[in-house]
Every structure is written in structure tokens, then in C-alpha cells.
């Protein structure tokens, strides 16, 4: 039986590939023509380092590929490479990311635009490979930009955007792209890969300017400082993070012009929120079961929508508040935990709660913890959360505690 051949959608001269989220990241890295990459294996991030190694071995990318003896060195090496003007990439997962912690803290004050991929993984113990967002979230207070993606296509696009944003002289901050272990890093989907010519049009060369460590530009990086200097340095970092918001808006607009795709709202994806009474929020691939459930609930006449925050740092406070103010109730689903936090909520829920405190109207806010350690988030989980949100919308009251979904109890 012959099957009618339909033209594959895609933008003009894009090439379509069946690749995983990690491979999509590596495709973008080759297009961005990175100079130095450091590697140290830990699942699920290691799929990226393998994909880059393959690209170099096959002659599709010319870059220094340095296998470090641990994550701390891995991140140190690219930090130094970046200060001498190299476009760099590295990444890790779970406790590997933790092992690099000291280096992760020194990177933002040095204004190093290091791009990392964090393959989100549960922190040990127990040793487990499934997704939790706590690993990437530990740098949330340090001056790292943090973004979550949910498809392989978005992974590729975001990698290109990341260099454009982080390497902007107004920003010069490290950026971590979070990809859910398994669901994104290990799942192959059809991805449109743009041409190098387009990428060159979008992505300028990394120019470190006055901060370049070079004999022609004699500077000392990171001298010791006492109480006379530190708070001013922090103030500078704060300013850079504030400027990043403008740069992000500019970069996404330019991305849409050059590549003919990409979101108009860089900060978060809004799905069926226009008339939504209940708005659910969650980061990463959690959006997929949520969208399926929302379509089903819409068919039942329930007005439910989803906001999937991409950017966690800088946090899009005003835009999120505007998008949430009109809801009858908000349900925040965290794939992370913060033991002993206000209401025992996860990190995202407490951020949203804090952001909403100054809002003119404050709908009831419910927090949920779900999908830890890579537990699949199921449609019944989403239904249960939504029902509780409708209940809170009726009573007008926020529950005083966080609900755990999908736990054996």
C-alpha cells in the first residue's frame, strides 16, 4: 500500500534530524563554533559530551576537548579559557554539578559567560538517574542565569540564544540550560537544524573587550578584596542580571527574525491561558502531560491553562504577575523540593508566592511536589492537582501545606 508523501515542514533550508535533546545541544554547539569544551562523565549530561566528541572526531567541529579529572577542574578550565577569549561549553548533572560548586560560585563575579548544560538529575543519595531540578537550582542565588527547556528543538534554539545573551557585554554572566534527564536528554525527536550562515548572522563573535586576559591588555583577575570592595562588586553583578532582561528580549526578537521561529514571549510559554480560571505552572518536560490533560479538561468544559516558565533567572516577575493576576487559582508543580521551606513548598512555588505578594489581586496559590527522581507525571496527577485548584478557587483560600502527588502512600 503506497502512502501519500507529504512535504516535511521546516523553515526553508533547515535540515531535519532525528536527534535527542543532548544531540540537539551538540548540533547547536557545532553551529556556534565553540572553542573549548571540557568534559567529565555523569549521566544524563554525558550524552552531550559524547555527542560533541563525535562531532570533533568526524571533523564537524574544531575545538579543544579537554577531559578533566573531575567536575571542579572541568568548570575551572572553561572559566579560564573564557577569560582569554574562548567561547566555551561544559555541563554536568546531579552531584557532579555539586562537586563543581566552588567554581560555580566564583564564575558570576568574574563575569564569565560560561554556557553549561545541566542534565537534571536527582541528587544523591540514593544514587539515581532520574530528573529532579534541585541540582541546577542550587546556583539560583549566585548570579547564574537559569533556563529550562522542554523539547529537543527548544534545546537547540536555546543553546544558540544562550551564547548571544551571555556573551553580550552588558551581561557577561554564566548561563545554565536545564534539560530533564531521560525525557529530554535521551529521547530522540525530529529537529530542524538551521544553516551555519544563519547562525553566523545571529551570533556575533565573543568579544571580551576590556576584560580580556591578554598581554596586550594587562589586567589581574580576581584580586583579594576586603570589606571596602565586596558590596560594590555584588552591586555590579545585580546590575548585570537586571540588564540581562533587556538583552534576552532583544535576542529572542532577533532570533525570530533570523530563523523564522521561536517564542514571542521569551520568559514563559502560555498554553490556553487566555480565559483560564485555573493556571498551572511547571518547568521542563512536565509541560507535556500537562498539555495533554489540559486538552482533555478543556473538552470537559474546564477552563484550565498552563504557564511553563523557561527563565528562572532572571525571574520574569512583572510579566508573570500580570499573567497570573486574573486566575481564580494558581497551582505550582515543582519537580524539586525545599525541605523546611515556607509551607514545605518547592522552590518554584515559593518564588511565585513571593512574586505575587505585591500583586493587586492574589489568587489562591497551591503548591505541589511531583515527579521527583524521574517518577512519571501522569494524567491522574494533573487531574488531582487541578481539582484541588478548583476547590481553592471556590473557597478563595490557599491551603497551608504542599501536596505530594504520585507517592506510594
Amino acid at each position: 500500500m503506497a502512502v501519500e508523501t507529504r512535504a516535511a515542514p521546516g523553515v526553508a533550508d533547515d535540515k531535519e534530524m532525528l536527534i535527542s535533546g543532548s544531540e540537539a545541544c551538540a548540533e547547536a554547539l557545532a553551529l556556534a563554533d565553540i572553542d573549548v569544551v571540557t568534559a567529565y562523565p555523569i549521566r544524563p549530561y554525558d550524552t552531550v559530551m559524547q555527542a560533541i566528541a563525535r562531532k570533533i572526531a568526524n571533523g564537524h567541529l574544531v575545538a579543544e576537548y579537554i577531559v578533566a579529572e573531575g567536575e571542579h577542574s572541568q568548570f575551572e578550565i572553561v572559566k579560564h579559557a573564557s577569560t582569554v577569549g574562548a567561547r566555551v561549553f561544559c555541563g554536568s548533572s546531579g552531584v557532579g554539578w555539586m562537586y563543581a560548586m566552588e567554581c560555580l560560585t566564583v564564575t558570576p563575579p568574574l563575569r564569565v559567560p560560561m554556557i553549561c548544560m545541566v542534565g537534571n538529575r536527582a541528587l544523591d543519595d540514593p544514587g539515581a538517574f532520574g530528573v529532579e531540578h534541585n541540582d541546577a537550582l542550587v546556583v539560583r542565588d549566585l548570579g547564574w542565569m537559569l533556563i529550562w527547556v522542554d523539547t529537543a528543538q527548544e534545546m537547540l534554539d536555546t543553546t544558540l540564544l544562550a551564547y548571544r545573551i551571555a556573551e553580550d557585554r552588558r551581561v557577561f554572566l554564566p548561563l545554565a540550560m536545564s534539560a530533564d534527564g531521560a525525557f529530554l536528554t535521551h529521547s530522540q525527536a525530529l529537529v530542524q537544524v538551521p544553516t551555519r550562515a544563519k547562525v553566523e548572522k545571529f551570533l556575533p563573535r565573543y568579544d571580551r573587550g576590556d576584560l580580556l586576559l591578554h598581554p596586550d591588555n594587562p589586567i589581574t583577575v580576581a584580586p583579594q578584596a576586603n570589606e571596602d570592595w565586596v558590596i560594590e562588586i555584588r552591586r555590579q553583578n545585580n546590575e548585570a542580571m537586571a540588564r540581562a532582561s533587556t538583552v534576552i528580549e532583544e535576542a529572542y526578537a532577533e532570533f525570530r527574525t533570523v530563523f523564522g521561529r521561536g517564542p514571542e514571549n521569551p520568559w514563559f510559554e502560555e498554553y490556553m491561558t487566555d480565559d483560564a480560571e485555573i493556571i498551572l505552572l511547571g518547568m521542563g518536560t512536565i509541560s507535556l502531560p500537562f498539555k495533554v490533560a489540559i486538552r482533555q479538561m478543556r473538552a470537559e468544559g474546564k477552563k484550565v491553562g498552563l504557564i511553563r516558565p523557561r527563565w528562572f533567572r532572571p525571574f520574569p516577575t512583572e510579566r508573570l504577575v500580570r499573567a497570573l493576576e486574573g486566575a481564580h487559582a494558581i497551582g505550582v508543580i515543582d519537580r524539586d523540593y525545599s525541605f523546611g521551606s515556607p509551607f514545605g513548598s518547592g522552590v518554584l512555588a515559593n518564588e511565585i508566592r513571593a512574586a505575587m505578594y505585591n500583586a493587586d489581586t492574589r489568587p489562591p496559590l497551591l503548591s505541589f511536589i511531583c515527579g521527583l527522581g524521574g517518577r512519571e507525571v501522569t494524567l491522574p496527577d494533573v487531574y488531582k492537582a487541578t481539582e484541588m485548584c478548583f476547590e481553592a478557587a471556590r473557597s478563595g483560600k490557599s491551603p497551608q501545606r504542599t501536596s505530594w502527588l504520585g507517592v506510594r502512600e
Binding site: 532525528l18 563525535r54 538517574f129 529521547s187 530522540q188 495533554v292 524521574g374
Partner: protein
């Protein structure tokens, strides 16, 4: 609106590349008709270990929206076709990723198909494959299990044959033409492989299976504890020490009741107790402590814990005392020593029958001499229908991209 879901059940590491090729082949073939698709492995199966059963999936759908239902999941709840590329997996699947033994046809939809490479007859296979409470189909491609490894690939056309067979089973999703196109374009593709796909398509044997047919054994399963029932501090109780086998004599170690690992086995040791010199080496060297010490000082490989690694055969100093035999010729995990004790003459007849057939004792994976691969593959391809010529593997290697 329609979707097509496939799983590939395979041997970890040995068939990892094979399964990946099949799943990618499904998506890329379906893409020829403009469909969307994803391919992924069951994450909990990794890190893979040699031979431990694992699963890959391919899902294609008319729209991206429809595909979303199947994304961000560990595995589909049901599949149209279960592909099994090693018929010893017909006994069931115990993987890293779950607790208990799952029948090979567990996810197969009612009326769905288990597509298997095998030299066994459907009736022989149905002694192993568990009963299902709905009718289903058993489709066979006449071929041995294709084993290779992480770094090598056995170019015996199994991936092309599976894709060709799928075009026969699900022409509305994978036309033979589209499959041929996808194979020709693949890095590993060739015109020969396209021909193999076509032959598999034409020669596929499909046997309807009723609810009454199949292995009636209830597979072992476990209920997982609730959060408040679990020990705190990420601790688990140790496995207790063992006990004498009977009458205060012999020794049977306690074993992990939650992971038996015998479905990892593709060959099992058959022991000639009359030749045993009681040197203890098999018992000492077995990486899985699978030998029970019998009251008379012999060593009985416990078939619920043997994963078939063959170390016992390798270390045994007595000629023909331990012989590895293909798992396909056994129907249960009964104790060989009990059989021997019960009737030595009958046991001897059974043993000779098992070990004297050269097809039974050929290694299921690995090579013992230089040139064995070329020899075997020629024979297989001859019987499978295509003549091997120069150029394999990777005739399309120049198109290599990633």
C-alpha cells in the same frame, strides 16, 4: 488522527545498537509520509549490562499534538507491535527498570503482534510465551538472534528485515516503499538491505494466537512498599546467610528475592555430575553465587539465579563436565541435580541430547576464532535469502553526518 507504537525488547549492550537502528528506522520511515515520531529507550534500563533485557520504543503519529501524549513517559502503556530480537526473551523479561518478570507480550495490544526473530516453531515458542487474556499474533522472521556489542555491529540485515516485516504488519504507517527509502538513506543502509527488507516483508509468517495458548505460569511480581513502610536512611536489609540443603548437609545461599536475573540468560550450564571432581572452582568463581552445594558435595547451578555467563564452564578442569547449552531448548528452571539423583540413566540420556546437538552448544554471542563472523554471516544470509557481497558493513558510510 492515528498513532503507531512499537517496542523493541532486546539484550542490553549486545543488541543496543540494533534496537536503536530499528527504532530510528521506524520513525524515519514514517516520516516519509509526513508523520511525526520519537524514539527513546527505557531510561531505567541503563546503565545497561551485558545481556540484561532492555527496551527501546518508537512512536509515530499523524500530528505533533498526538505525539505529545507519548512524550515525557517512561514507556507506553500498550504497543501495537512488540519486536523481540532474541527468542530466548520469550520466557519473559526481568530488567533493571522494574520489579518482577514481565511476559514478552505484556504491552502488546489485544489483536497486536509480537514480531520475533527465531528459528523455533510457533508451537515451541508458545511453550515459553505467557498466556494473554486477549488474542494476539505471533509473527516470525527466520533468523538467529543478532548479537554484537557496544563497539561492533553485526551487519546481518536484522534491522532491515524487521523494518520490512513491519511494512507488512502496518502498511498504513510504514509502506514498503518508505521503509526501502529510509534504509537506503541510512548511514548503515545499502541496496542489499533494501532487498532484505522486501524479502522479509514477503516471507513473514504470522500465526494468530488464542487466549488458550501459551505458558500458563504466573510471572513473579512484587508490591512496592509505601513511603512510610520503607526503612529510613536509604537502607535496605542485607540478604541473610544460607542454610544446609538437607539433613544438615550441603549449602544453599540466600539470594536476592527481588531480582532473580535469569532472563538475562541466553545459555545455561548443563552439568554432568558423574564427571565432577568436586574441585569447587565453579562454586568459587560464579559471579552470582548460583551454585547450591548438594549433600553429596556436588555443585548444582540454581537456574533461578544463573545469568548464563559461562564462567563455570571456563574454569571447570574436568572434560565435558560443564557444557553451556542454548536457553531455547529448555522449558523450565528445574534442578539438574534432583533430576540426576532421581534417575541417573534418564538424566544421562537428557544430558547427551542437550549437549550433542552442535546447534545447541554454539555460542549465542562472542567469537572464538578469527573469521567466524564472516563464516557465520555468509551462512545466515544465504539461508535468509540474500547473497552476501563485498561492501558490508556501512556501504553508505560516506553519508555519515553526525
Amino acid at each position: 488522527m492515528a498513532a503507531f507504537t512499537c517496542e523493541v525488547v532486546y539484550r542490553g549492550i549486545f543488541q543496543k545498537n540494533l534496537a536503536a537502528r530499528i527504532c530510528r528506522g521506524i520513525v524515519l520511515s514514517a516520516r516519509k509520509a509526513g508523520r511525526w515520531g520519537i524514539a527513546f529507550g527505557r531510561y531505567g534500563d541503563s546503565p545497561q549490562r551485558n545481556g540484561i533485557p532492555a527496551k527501546d520504543f518508537a512512536i509515530v503519529a499523524d500530528s505533533q499534538e498526538e505525539l505529545e501524549q507519548n512524550m515525557a513517559r517512561y514507556e507506553p502503556k500498550e504497543v501495537d507491535v512488540t519486536i523481540c530480537v532474541d527468542d530466548t526473551l520469550s520466557k519473559g523479561v526481568e530488567s533493571w527498570a522494574w520489579y518482577g518478570l514481565q511476559p514478552i507480550n505484556r504491552l502488546t495490544l489485544p489483536g497486536g503482534t509480537v514480531l520475533m526473530t527465531s528459528l523455533q516453531s510457533p508451537d515451541e515458542l508458545l511453550r515459553d510465551i505467557h498466556k494473554k487474556d486477549a488474542p494476539w499474533n505471533l509473527a516470525l522472521i527466520r533468523a538467529k538472534a543478532s548479537f554484537s556489542g557496544l563497539w561492533v555491529y553485526r551487519e546481518d540485515h536484522t534491522e532491515a528485515r524487521i523494518l520490512g516485516a513491519l511494512a507488512r504488519l502496518k502498511p498504513e504507517f510504514l509502506s514498503l516503499e518508505a521503509v526501502g527509502q529510509a534504509i537506503a538513506e541510512a548511514e548503515w543502509g545499502s541496496d542489499l538491505k533494501v532487498a532484505s527488507a522486501r524479502k522479509a516483508h514477503d516471507r513473514l509468517e504470522v500465526r494468530p494466537v488464542t487466549m488458550a495458548e501459551g505458558n500458563g505460569e504466573v510471572p513473579f511480581s512484587f508490591e512496592m512498599p509505601k513511603w512510610w513502610e520503607m526503612r529510613e536512611g536509604v537502607t535496605i536489609p542485607a540478604i541473610p546467610v544460607g542454610k544446609p540443603m538437607e539433613g544438615g548437609k550441603g549449602y544453599v545461599p540466600e539470594r536476592n528475592p527481588y531480582f532473580k536475573k535469569y532472563t538475562t540468560r541466553t545459555m545455561r550450564p548443563v552439568i554432568d555430575f558423574d564427571k565432577c571432581v568436586k574441585c569447587t572452582l565453579c562454586w568459587l568463581q560464579c559471579p552470582d553465587s548460583c551454585f547450591d552445594i548438594t549433600p553429596d558435595g556436588l555443585y548444582d547451578a540454581n537456574m533461578e539465579s544463573c545469568c548464563g555467563c559461562g564462567v563455570c564452564e571456563a574454569v571447570c578442569p574436568a572434560k565435558d563436565c560443564v557444557t553451556m547449552v542454548n536457553e531455547a531448548v529448555f522449558d523450565d528452571n528445574a534442578s539438574q541435580w534432583e533430576m540426576w539423583r532421581h534417575d541417573k540413566g534418564q538424566y544421562h540420556t537428557w544430558l547427551v541430547d542437550k549437549i550433542s546437538d552442535t546447534r545447541h552448544v554454539a555460542r549465542s554471542h562472542g567469537f572464538r576464532f578469527r573469521g567466524q563472523y564472516q563464516e557465520e554471516i555468509k551462512a545466515e544470509l544465504d539461508s535468509g535469502g540474500v547473497t552476501i557481497t563485498a561492501g558490508i558493513p556501512g556501504e553508505n558510510a560516506d553519508r555519515k553526518q553526525a
